[in-house]
């Protein structure tokens, strides 16, 4: 039996939001740990930042920025749907999904431009 009928934009937005949320949740403790290294003095923090300069690590960071932006935009979309008035029954503001995804990618691009 085929699974649920998921091939539509709202579902894709849900998935994007959830997966980015999970990724952020996993990343956040490490992020805090890294910042916490500043405690041990600027030296080790710099060492960490040097590690962070490795391209692969850079790519991961890029990913996180995009994920954060994606989660932000899709999260805002949910807040709009939940707390702003609907103009009609079909008013699922699907446009926000495209804009959100596009916005996240654009931010990612700016990030890349800044880094390299």
């Amino acid at each position: 039996m085929r699974h649920s009928p998921r091939r539509h934009r709202n579902y894709v937005a849900f998935l994007g939001h959830r997966l980015s949320g999970i990724a952020l949740a996993i990343f956040l403790p490490f992020h805090f740990l890294a910042l916490g290294l500043a405690l041990e003095g600027a030296g080790s923090f710099d060492a960490f930042l040097a590690f962070a300069d490795i391209p692969l690590v850079k790519m991961a960071e890029w990913g996180l920025v995009v994920l954060l932006a994606l989660h932000l935009f899709f999260g805002l979309r949910i807040l709009v749907l939940e707390f702003m008035p609907w103009r009609s029954d079909a008013d699922d503001r699907a446009g926000l999904i495209g804009w959100g995804a596009g916005g996240a990618l654009a931010l990612g691009l700016v990030f890349l431009l800044g880094v390299f």
Binding site: R2, L81, F83
Partner: protein, 245 residues
């Protein structure tokens, strides 16, 4: 009646037979001009598989008895034209998802209706049969909110379409919460506080993640997504104001 050219064409129908254990059985039935999916199933029952179990009543989309999974999507079958769903001359028909199966295409809707009650879907009036009906402004926002969701035929299509229902057995589901929302907007209802409590507790509106499968599939064009969002907002506002309705 139909022309000979029409009756020569056929459609392959693959139907789930059995309960939880079972298999798809394929049947070749005549294709007709204005056939619905329910007609295909009927054709199979009448001429191929006398003991085939399925359910229908009204034939016009008001009773919500005939929903099945058609080519992977939940639909009302009495008003789904075959032409709209047929893929390469074939159609796969299965029971609805998220409900216990009885036999073949028939499901047990008991839990669906239990959850409807759990979400608070039952009117409690303030007046009796000895008084005239209460005046209600037909243009008020509340009345319009109620009207938008009230024509639910409890077909269970949204319930079958929603993934959260599949993932969380406590989730009350879109139809039940949609009903709760229409009641929350019914100024004649006597217990909005109790109702909101029911609709927001375990398995209530907070479990909905705005996936939108429900509104995408509701055959009568209701948007449970919108209704559930309405409950969420109401619950948040009430909590912030420290108020019970």
């Amino acid at each position: 009646m139909s022309t000979t050219a029409e009756t020569e064409k056929t459609i392959w129908v693959h139907i789930w037979r059995g309960k939880d254990e079972g298999r798809h059985v394929s049947y070749e039935v005549p294709a007709r001009e204005n056939q619905t999916v329910l007609d295909l199933v009927t054709e199979v029952q009448r001429y191929h598989e006398p003991a085939l179990a399925y359910r229908f009543a009204c034939r016009v989309g008001v009773c919500g008895s005939c929903a099945m999974t058609v080519n992977g999507r939940p639909r009302w079958t009495c008003r789904t034209h075959v032409k709209r769903v047929v893929e390469g001359g074939e159609i796969t028909i299965e029971p609805l998802r998220n409900m216990p199966r009885i036999k073949d295409l028939a499901c047990d809707m008991g839990e669906f209706f239990d959850k409807w009650q759990k979400a608070g879907g039952k009117f409690k009036g303030k007046a009796t049969r000895r008084e005239p009906p209460m005046a209600v402004d037909p243009e008020s926002r509340e009345r319009k909110n109620a009207d938008a969701g009230i024509e639910c035929i409890n077909c269970g299509v949204c319930y079958a379409a929603c993934d959260v229902v599949a993932w969380n057995k406590d989730y009350l589901g879109p139809a039940a919460l949609n009903r709760a929302w229409t009641l929350l907007n019914d100024e004649r209802h006597a217990d909005h506080a109790g109702l909101l409590e029911m609709a927001t507790s375990e398995g209530g509106c907070a479990s909905c993640h705005t996936q939108g499968n429900c509104m995408t599939h509701c055959p009568v064009g209701i948007s449970p997504t919108r209704s559930i969002a309405g409950i969420k907002k109401m619950s948040l506002v009430d909590l912030l104001r420290g108020r019970a309705r």
